[in-house]
Amino acid sequence: MNLLGISLAYLRARPLANALNLFLLALGIATITLLMLATAQIESRMLRDARGIDLVAGAKGSPMQLVLSAVFHIDVPAGNIPLKDAMALARNPQVKKAIPLALGDSYKGYRIVGSNHDYVAHYGARIGEGRLWTAPMEAVLGAEVAAKTKLAPGGKFTAVHGVGGDGDEHDEAPYAVVGVLGPSGTVLDRLVLTSVESVWTVHGLEKEAAEDKEITALLVQYASPIAAAMLPRWINASLVLQAASPAYESARLFRMLGVGIDVMRAFGLVLVLVAGLSVFIALLNALEDRRYDLAVMRMLGASRARLMGLLLLEGATLALAGGIAGIALGHVLTEILGTALQAAQQTAVTGGIWLVQELWLLGLALGVGLVAALVPAWRAYRADVAPVLAEG
């Protein structure tokens, strides 16, 4: 027998009201947990995917679309750019690294990217099985693509025009799988990689003269900080190219999403506060029924402080249980959301990771529970015993 055991006995004595309070609190905490997990993972994922890419050059249009399509591969490209303009940019002395990308096709919803081996090296990805492509129409699969499509080196597939998966099939030019990348935790996991020439071949452009050839975008790394000031202006002055900064555009995207995230977070907080209010009302109501019990405990030798502790402990126990249930629920919901997103081949989100900030959520729940119990506890502290024992 201890104070916690007595608290639990009291919580069990009112199962419906306390289960409802627990559920309310858990729902609020789960909402906040879900947001924390999802934003943290998407942010770190975007940060990783954009690392080392200072600038994207592509067709004129929306700079955000350019970044979303060429860096994160979650949007369609606005158009192509002439190869000779891209080559001119790549030769600029302020460019340290330039990686060409040729987009347009997909396989089972996974985008086929024509590039060179620098693209693989840029993300530090390693070949897991087989080898990298060396000739046109050879393809290397990202880890997730290989796992989902069950393709392996030696297999063949035909590309589909567009990303949707129901475009025209390029069945006259099948790809041969020669390798599978190991998982890198980057966008490469969800891509099918091949050479730029393959993409040209599929679209019947391999015979075109060099000046008529096109690619979709060029990922650029600056040679020096000065380039940040000069290169975008130089690119944007051209008639066909535009420059977009992945850092700036993803920050802009998060600012736009941020409003929605803030609203959801506020909603979660409101749920937590309502739960706190509900715990407060429940404890205060229960106190009316428990005046005699509390008086008897004083009669049996419990001090005022102990009774106060008992009520605070009840609030804290309920809140902590709600907090833990909420965090668990948040992880489950995140995992469900992640599975749904994965089915749509979007950025992967999992409920399987834990953040240090979740401890703050437990603290928040605990604080709400203690504050809710404070007034009932104080009343228990102040109550006079003798008159209560005499009535009944």
Binding site: M1, A9, A13, Y292, D293, M297, M299, S303, L389, A390
Partner: protein, 208 residues
């Protein structure tokens, strides 16, 4: 063992108890007889340290109660005084056994479950060990309340109107039980009642 000297207790302007002197020796069984409103409950509350007198001094054992405050007074009461309140007031969310163990726990003593079990079997309540108070008859609940009061082997056992609403047979059963239990732990017993039937069982009597 206990003494009251010049004790007055009033609520506002109304004096509910005036007792110039009262003494009881260790192990004595006293009946405090008086009509309702005569201050019986107030006297018990003063002896338990649940109320402080407006004037005068209360001594139980060697302890002057006005020397104790707050948590020290609560702990002294828990260890020294066993109380059977009129309405029994068992804790409804705890089992019978837990209700008994609550007494030593709250008094800061080692919670002795074996002692609680043997008390219950001595009162033919072993079948009810894990029952909740609402599952007990009034007589059973009363025996549990007495058992709870003697759990800590108090030096003073107080009972407030233990025989109200009982027929003759049960009235004497309860009084016998209180006397037998206080003898078992060596406690001074004070029973406050308006029930004239109780006169037959007590030699020492204080009329209020």
């Amino acid at each position: 063992m206990l003494s009251l000297k010049g004790v007055r207790r009033s609520y506002g302007a109304r004096e509910v108890l005036a007792l110039d002197a009262f003494e009881a020796a260790a192990g004595e069984h006293w009946l405090v007889l008086g009509a309702s409103g005569s201050g019986k409950t107030t006297l018990l509350n003063l002896l338990a340290g649940l109320l402080a007198p407006s004037a005068g001094e209360v001594t139980v054992g060697e302890q002057r109660l006005d020397a104790l405050r707050g948590a020290a007074l609560d702990q002294w009461r828990g260890r020294t005084v066993g109380i059977v309140p009129q309405k029994l007031h068992l804790v409804p969310s705890l089992s019978v056994l837990e209700n008994l163990v609550l007494a030593p726990y709250l008094a800061g003593l080692a919670p002795d479950r074996d002692c609680a079990r043997s008390l219950l079997s001595g009162l033919s309540l072993e079948q009810k060990t894990n029952s909740k108070p609402h599952e007990l008859s009034h007589g059973q609940a009363q025996r549990v309340a007495v058992a709870r009061a003697v759990m800590n082997r108090p030096r003073l056992l107080l009972a407030d109107e233990p025989t109200s609403n009982l027929d003759d047979e049960n009235c004497f059963l309860v009084l016998d039980l209180l006397q037998q239990q206080s003898r078992a732990v060596g406690a001074t017993l004070i029973v406050a009642t308006h029930d004239q039937r109780a006169r037959q069982r007590f030699e020492k009597r204080l009329d209020l």
